[in-house]
């Protein structure tokens, strides 16, 4: 056993750092580090920069334009990007539909879609949840009826993140309503968002942001060639995708960055005339999160190490999702409480509806309550933490 990185791995870390020093603009990394909204054009631009360096798809195999890195390198890469304040990769193409197309798509689909994900020409969004199908995803009702070379899709998807920017959506649809089990009648379709009959409606969340949408389908014509794999086998692909989603949610790198920000703010804020970080009570709260994060990082590295020995990532990935999201929420909570009464001013910027305006108090205080509100989502999405516990109970403990 060795908890240290090899010389090769350390050299790789240096290579990533040097790249970031050279290519990541200060203005963009400041936005990320201060919890401000990243602009859509910046997400695209940054993906192109990574693509040009050959790092566009760190998790994909080399033959599809990926890096072919082992999980330890992947971990180092993601951590360095997060610490440096690089925009978090938008997961829907790279981490979700991309791996599905690689594993289950045909050669034609791979050729058509993968390069456009890599170079950020396409922006994908997710059509999974429905108003009546959340934790119980398999009960989804969006219907796709076969008419010759086309499916006609009718129904409604919800909690569609950033779909207002997307030109493609991957959807779970019901192709056989009479299948003996709900999981058996589902297919996986790729749908052009410009197809007539698709309507995207914003959902305003508790922090006042427009991040998620409802997507309505009314007689939407989808070519059969846009189906992934076999008809009625979509649930297999959906579960594969959810596994990928779960491991990418842990967010260890970004939590380390937020921990650093928390310490900096606690150093700057004062309580009883002393830096807040010297208050034993608050210091203990920070220490608790840092310790939890240390444990999670080693747990994640253990999981990665098992994966690199070709043992597939198991249901243990749910541990990473549960603890990772709990830590993210704890950090957002402490960041808010660190600034005391100046957490309360809550005004959106007139220039950008997704930004907060600094109307009173230190600039760094402005987005903190909004982030605290927004972070409530992390224990709900990607399979709620209750569902993750069910997975561990059933698949790991055999209960």
């Amino acid at each position: 056993m060795d908890l240290n990185f090899t010389a090769d791995e350390l050299a790789f870390r240096e290579e990533v750092r040097a790249f970031l020093r050279e290519h990541l603009p200060q203005e963009l990394s400041d936005r990320v580090k201060n919890g401000l909204a990243v602009r859509v054009e910046d997400y695209r631009w940054w993906q192109k920069v990574l693509f040009e360096r050959g790092w566009g798809a760190p998790t994909w195999p080399k033959e599809f334009g990926g890096t072919g890195w082992d999980p330890v390198r992947l971990h180092i890469f993601e951590e360095e990007l997060a610490l440096a304040g690089a925009p978090k990769p938008v997961p829907f193409g790279l981490r979700m539909v991309g791996p599905v197309i690689i594993a289950f798509g045909n050669a034609e689909q791979q050729k058509r879609f993968l390069p456009r994900i890599l170079n950020a020409e396409d922006w994908w969004c997710q059509g999974y949840s429905e108003p009546g199908a959340g934790s119980d995803l398999a009960s989804l009702k969006t219907r796709a009826e076969r008419h010759g070379d086309y499916y006609i899709v009718n129904g409604q998807k919800t909690w569609n993140t950033m779909g207002q920017h997307a030109n493609w959506i991957f959807c779970l649809v019901r192709t056989d309503p009479n299948a003996p089990k709900p999981q058996q009648g589902i297919s996986f379709l790729l749908i052009d968002m410009k197809t007539p009959g698709i309507t995207v409606r914003p959902i305003v969340t508790l922090d006042g942001a427009h991040e998620v949408n409802e997507v309505w389908f009314e007689n939407v014509k989808v070519p059969v060639e846009n189906r992934i794999g076999e008809e009625n086998k979509g649930w297999t692909y959906a579960k594969f995708l959810l596994g990928h989603e779960r491991t990418s949610i842990a967010g260890i790198g970004s939590s380390k960055r937020e921990l650093g920000r928390l310490k900096a703010i606690a150093q700057n804020e004062t309580k009883n005339g002393r830096p807040l970080i010297e208050d034993p009570f608050f210091a203990a709260r920070i220490a608790q999160v840092e310790i939890d994060l240390m444990a999670l990082e080693i747990t994640a590295l253990r999981a990665l190490s098992a994966e690199s020995k070709n043992r597939a990532p198991g249901p243990e990935a749910s541990i990473l999702k549960i603890k990772g999201t709990e830590i993210q929420q704890a950090l957002s909570e402490l960041l808010m409480y660190a600034v005391g009464s100046y957490a309360l001013p809550f005004e959106r910027s007139s220039a950008d509806e997704n930004d907060f305006a600094s109307v009173a108090g230190p600039d760094y205080a402005a987005p903190l309550a909004g982030t605290y509100c927004n972070m409530r989502k992390v224990t709900i999405y990607g399979g709620s933490n209750e569902i993750q516990r069910n997975i561990i109970a059933q698949m790991v403990l055999g209960l």
Binding site: N272, F281, S341, P345, F346, A369, I380
Partner: protein, 379 residues
């Protein structure tokens, strides 16, 4: 010992609850929230008509001279409806402070107007470094000829944009945390040198920062020249903290009820999600926390006018600590149990979430009051 309310108190509670039900639906509230002022003068007049603005005004000044228990019952109902009107600031804190200062001229001038709902006086006490510690006041009032000059900054003053006049605390002597030397001054909203920066807060309340740059005031603006300013300020805040705790309890009960209802109606895996034991136990914990919070809100109401300041401090810190912790747990779990729906602006639950969060951040959060309580063990 008993926990029953008098017939008059019960009637008051029923009246206010009915008023909130009939006048403060989710849609009514949404309209008020997005209006330019962020609160409704029409509703305010109705509250005055019901006598609610007179509760904390002594009878001799045209008030009802009722107490913290009556205020608690009102605030329970206001919590359930998430009222946006400046009741806590203008009908609890301000009249309590004026009454405590014992300045009979000022009391005779202001309290009848407050009781009638005609005057919105806003106490501007908190400063950026205060962080719950009521005696941490840096704003200075220097004696200058036949008056005072105020210099300093007040921050996140709830409902400040609604003020007809301010009651600003400032020290005429002493260091930044001394209790001696802290005084209360009447400051007109258009005073020269007073800069008001108004904004919305997390829960939709309107608030402001006040910067006082060489604000000149006549000697007569000092309220209660013969009284202990800080003792009055602290006593008034204790009454207001008790009211705030009651508002939080009103929210907790309402949000727990909507969560139970939601889980009974939301079906997944072929059954209402309320059948899942893990969610049942979560809601049981939410219920228990709300009951503990209710108990501490009762304690706060009974103790907030205790003659012994150290007994008051202990009780109020204990109450605010429990309310803060319970509020955080209940708010977070209510959103979690509503799933994605809990994240939307469209349901009351997210608005309850934000108000409970804001309440914890007001007048010292749960950790602050836990520390205050711990410090009281030493003496």
């Amino acid at each position: 010992m008993h926990f029953t309310f008098t017939d008059e108190q019960q009637l008051l509670a029923d009246t206010v609850q009915r008023f909130v039900r009939e006048h403060y639906s989710f849609e009514d509230r949404r309209e008020i929230l997005s209006s330019p002022e962020g609160w409704s003068r029409a509703i305010w007049q109705e509250l005055a008509g019901l006598g609610l603005t007179a509760i904390n005004v002594p009878e001799e000044h045209g008030g009802l001279g009722a107490g913290p228990v009556e205020t608690m019952l009102v605030m329970n109902a206001f919590g359930a409806g998430l009222l946006l009107e400046p009741y806590l600031s203008a009908a609890v804190l301000a009249p309590s402070l004026i009454a405590q200062l014992g300045d009979s001229d000022v009391a005779a001038e202001l309290l009848p107007q407050i009781a009638a709902g005609e005057l919105i006086a806003i106490v501007a006490h908190q400063e950026p470094q205060t962080r719950g510690k009521l005696n941490s006041i840096a704003t200075r009032a220097e004696k200058n000829g036949d008056g005072y000059v105020l210099q300093g900054k007040k921050n996140v003053v709830a409902h400040a944009p609604a003020a007809n006049e301010f009651l600003v605390t400032a020290r005429t002597s002493g260091k930044a945390t001394d209790t001696a030397g802290v005084r209360v001054f009447r400051v007109p909203t258009d005073a020269s040198g007073l800069k008001i920066t108004a904004y919305r807060t997390l829960d939709g309340t309107r608030a402001a920062d006040l910067e006082l740059d060489r604000v000149r005031l006549p000697t007569s603006s000092l309220v209660g020249a013969d009284s202990d300013g800080f003792a009055a300020i602290e006593a008034a805040h204790h009454v207001a903290v008790s009211a705030l705790c009651a508002e939080a309890v009103g929210i907790m009960k309402a949000v727990n009820a909507t969560t139970v209802e939601y889980t009974k109606n939301r079906k997944q895996f072929g059954q209402p999600i309320s059948r899942f034991q893990v969610l049942q136990h979560r809601m049981v914990d939410m219920f228990i926390q709300a009951e503990q919070a209710t108990s501490m809100s009762y304690l706060a109401a009974i103790k907030c006018q205790d003659a012994d300041p150290s007994a008051r401090r202990r009780a109020l810190s204990a109450a605010k600590c429990v309310i803060g912790q319970a509020g955080r747990f209940i708010a977070q779990q209510a959103v979690q149990l509503h799933g994605g729906m809990g994240m939307t602006d469209e349901l009351m639950v997210s608005h309850y979430f934000k108000r409970l969060t804001a309440i914890d951040l007001t007048w010292g959060d749960a950790d602050f009051h836990l520390q205050q309580f711990a410090e009281s063990l030493r003496t």
